[in-house]
């Protein structure tokens, strides 16, 4: 049997789509699918943002708004968390950026399984529809908290225990199927479709982040699937996987012999890697943005790659640090505290390398760079508070307080969103052919950066006071001073401001589509392959008639003696700056 390499297949077989539907709706082009993913993810993200606004209204100004009662508060909180972590961040980073960048960065025409890729998006779309539908079923969406802990998640008394939870479980299962289709594509494309000369260690760190995160997702989402299936059976078929014998509303239930703790182990075996599924692509993208806009090669490239891989491996053996107060075996705490603190080593190494990349760099303080530097601040802060919570003895008093809320929003919310903004400002010219408005971008950055600090920094203090998270109303408690409420009100005011500020970003995105200055080819002077396509934005098939050949790593910035301060990856080693012409000789040599 003769094998025809994906790259060498004749161009006729690609059949360029012509009709509107084939081009933009049922599209198999990775770039269109990426944009579809991005738009849907940003839309649900906005929904989740509004939900958090409702929560802040209640916390800052209790009992002022009649549509927020204890039930709806819990529902807003649950949906906010679930949407942000899974339907926004995971989908946008891997489905959006992963889809757009992987084939371009490895130098291929599309994902290896384009049809599966299309299915992946439509399954994701379906999962979002099911999720949003739960707002309109009797009883509303589930209010069990984004962790969906049984038994309370499926017991009467929890908001949405009739329909909301069923829709949530169904939506998660569909999402996992969608992610598996996408993830298989991302990993296989990176492993098998890299162009000539693109070794693993010549890949930009963005690819390493996306690749590792996709692999982790493929191994971690099964845990969520398994727990969702068993939770669903407990709810619908009356089994007792997680449900112990218990009395609810004065009645003995039929369940017997299940273990709620087992669910927590399964959930966090997914939940902790999930943190890094979101963080690793962000780590990768921020490395490339920093390096490009500082005109310097990334400091310690190999170390950066290994750190990503080591973090990925370790993240599978730290899950129970989310469960120190769950009543599990106390000896586990020591083990998981140790592994948790070990993760700080490769992570700190990455932070040092980002800072060292900036050191003596030719820093261009444009909007993507500002967001990337902002990320270094927020991530360091979030990481440091993680060191507190990783220790059992410190975690026990701080568990379920606002300190935890501040920690994970800083490290996983704000930091990742900073990178997402940096990435959108950085790659928007590639996708649309237009530059975003710098003035609006800078206002957006400063107000977002300072605003999020004003929101989350005081929360650490509230946590030390012992203010509990997830509470609809604090009531009269002796340990909380009057000032805690004042602080809560100020947090809410800043949160609303930061929320409203995002309108500037959305306006910028839409306005620049038509009115932004036309982007020159490779506007940032970047070295990686996605900027080296024959036309920009890249056309269907990406590379015209011949695939690019790679001759160097992705970080040849400010090379001494070179004509320009960057040398693209497809320029031959002895090259004179003519891309893509000397490859054949070098292969023979």
């Amino acid at each position: 049997m003769t094998h025809v390499a994906i790259a060498d297949q004749p161009e006729e077989e690609e059949h360029h789509p012509t009709s509107f539907i084939a081009k933009y709706i049922w599209s198999q082009d990775h770039k269109v699918i990426a944009i579809q993913y991005t738009i849907v993810a940003m839309f649900v993200g906005l929904v989740a943002l509004v939900l958090s606004g409702f929560m802040r209204l209640q916390l800052g100004f209790p009992d002022t708004f009649s549509f927020i009662n204890p039930n709806t508060y819990l529902q807003f909180m649950t949906m906010h968390g679930m949407i942000m972590v899974i339907y926004l961040l995971t989908a946008l980073l891997l489905g959006g950026f992963g889809n757009y960048l992987i084939p371009l960065m490895v130098g291929t025409r599309d994902m290896v399984f384009p049809y599966l890729n299309m299915l992946s998006f439509w399954m994701y779309f379906l999962s979002v529809l099911v999720l949003l539908a739960s707002f309109f079923v009797p009883g509303g969406p589930t209010g069990a908290g984004w962790t969906l802990y049984p038994p309370q998640a499926i017991l009467q008394g929890t908001p949405g225990a009739d329909w909301g939870i069923v829709f949530m479980i169904a939506s998660l299962a569909i999402f996992i199927i969608a992610f598996t289709m996408g993830g298989l594509n991302y990993v296989t494309t990176i492993l098998q479709a890299r162009t000539h000369g693109m070794t693993l260690m010549r890949m930009p760190l963005t690819l390493w982040g996306i690749f590792t995160a996709s692999l982790m997702g493929l191994l971690a989402f099964p845990a969520l699937l398994v727990s969702a299936i068993m939770l669903g059976l407990d709810l619908l078929a009356g089994t007792s996987f997680f449900m112990p014998a218990l009395v609810s509303l004065g009645e003995q239930l039929d369940h017997t012999g299940g273990s709620p703790l087992l669910f927590q182990h399964l959930f966090w075996f997914f939940g902790h890697p999930e943190v890094y599924i979101v963080a690793l692509p962000a780590f990768g993208m921020v490395s490339d943005v920093l390096s490009t806009h500082a005109r310097k090669n990334i400091f310690g490239y190999r170390m950066m790659v290994w750190a990503i891989v080591i973090i990925a491996g370790l993240s599978f053996i730290v899950w129970a640090h989310h469960m120190y107060v769950s009543g599990m075996n106390l000896n586990f705490g020591f083990f998981f505290a140790t592994t948790t603190l070990i993760i700080a080593v490769p992570t700190a190494l990455k932070v040092y390398n980002w800072v060292l990349t900036l050191w003596r760099g030719n820093i261009h303080l444009n909007t993507p760079m500002l967001f990337a530097i902002g990320f270094i601040f927020t991530f360091t802060h979030g990481g440091l508070s993680g060191l507190f919570l990783g220790n059992v003895i410190v975690d026990v008093p701080l568990a379920d307080t606002y300190f935890v809320v501040a920690h994970f929003h800083m490290v996983m919310g704000v930091s990742t969103v900073m990178v997402l903004f940096a990435a959108i400002y950085h790659w928007y010219p590639l996708v649309t052919g237009r530059m975003l408005h710098e003035g609006m971008g800078k206002i957006h950055f400063w107000l977002t950066f300072l605003g999020t600090y004003a929101v989350f920094l005081p929360m650490h203090y509230l946590g030390f006071l012992g203010v509990p998270r997830r509470y609809f109303s604090m009531g009269d408690t002796a340990f909380m001073p009057e000032s805690a409420q004042t602080l809560n009100a100020s947090i809410s005011v800043f949160a609303i401001i930061v929320m409203v500020i995002q309108v500037i970003f959305l306006v910028n995105l839409v306005w620049s589509l038509k009115n932004g200055p036309r982007a020159p080819r490779n506007p940032w002077g970047a070295t990686s392959l996605e900027w080296q396509t024959p036309v920009m934005p890249p056309a269907h098939g990406n590379w015209g008639h011949a695939l690019p050949r790679v001759h160097r790593w992705a970080y040849d910035y400010s090379v001494p003696g070179a004509a320009e301060d960057f040398i693209p990856q497809n320029v031959p080693q002895e090259g004179s700056g003519r891309p893509d012409d000397g490859g054949q000789e070098e292969v023979k040599a």
Partner: protein
């Protein structure tokens, strides 16, 4: 070129051995990509079942758990029907392997016969599993009666769904061959199906062994995993 060489390449230096090798190789064939994807997919299924098995073993140490085998009156103390089902799946797997060998040797008629046999036995297996469910329920071992029963229905259902998914692919390949597509075109598809089938057979054997074990075996496994109650 070992994997370690690839991960320790000093890519910032002018092209070394790794870069030269990759420059010559370039992107892989479509079949190679499919094989990689299938391999990863099998790892994912293994993780799903490993997690199921771990929770099962944990459950087996809780009070009130009644294993399906062990005492003479328990349903799986007599494993004859489980063995019959195993035979169906084994025959299906063997037929698919024969089809693959046939396709490699260019024997079109034999290949199509073997493929039809593989589909037939796979469907037999699914039907026999459903029969087993019916028997168990009739004997009073319903889905929600005991966690051990719940696990049996759940695991066989998830296993069966994976088999049905594979059947769709195999059925499509059979149809293509029937419509006169060349053997070369479906050979790649067949080899992937065969790998998947053998894997599902192996998985079924593990499942079988686990479900038909006695409480003492569970206790030993739990002790080995550090999961004693």
């Amino acid at each position: 070129m070992s994997f370690l060489d690839k991960l320790t390449e000093k890519s910032w230096e002018p092209a070394g051995a790794v870069a030269a090798a990759t420059a010559a190789a370039g992107p892989a064939s479509r079949h190679a990509a499919q094989k990689t994807a299938l391999g990863i997919f099998l790892v994912i299924i293994s993780v799903v079942f490993l997690l199921f098995f771990l929770t099962f073993i944990t459950h087996s140490q809780y009070p009130g758990f009644e294993a399906l085998a062990g005492e003479p009156w328990m349903p799986f103390s007599n494993t004859s029907q489980l063995w019959l089902n195993t035979l169906f799946l084994g025959l299906s797997s063997a037929a698919l392997h024969a089809a693959l060998v046939g396709a490699r040797r260019g024997m079109a008629n034999f290949t199509i016969l073997a493929m039809v046999a593989a589909v037939f036995f796979a469907i037999q297996f699914v039907l026999a599993q459903l029969w087993l469910w019916r028997d168990l329920t009739a004997m009073g071992y319903g889905l929600a009666e005991n966690p051990a029963n719940s696990y049996f229905y759940l695991l066989t259902a998830v296993h069966g769904l994976h088999l049905l998914g594979g059947l769709v692919v195999l059925f499509r390949a059979t149809l293509l061959l029937w419509q006169g597509q060349g053997l070369e075109r479906i050979q790649a598809s067949l080899s992937l199906c065969a790998t998947y089938w053998h894997y599902l057979l192996g998985l079924w054997l593990v499942l079988f062994a686990l479900m038909a074990s006695s409480p003492e075996t569970y206790q030993t496994i739990a002790a080995l995993c550090g999961l004693e109650g």
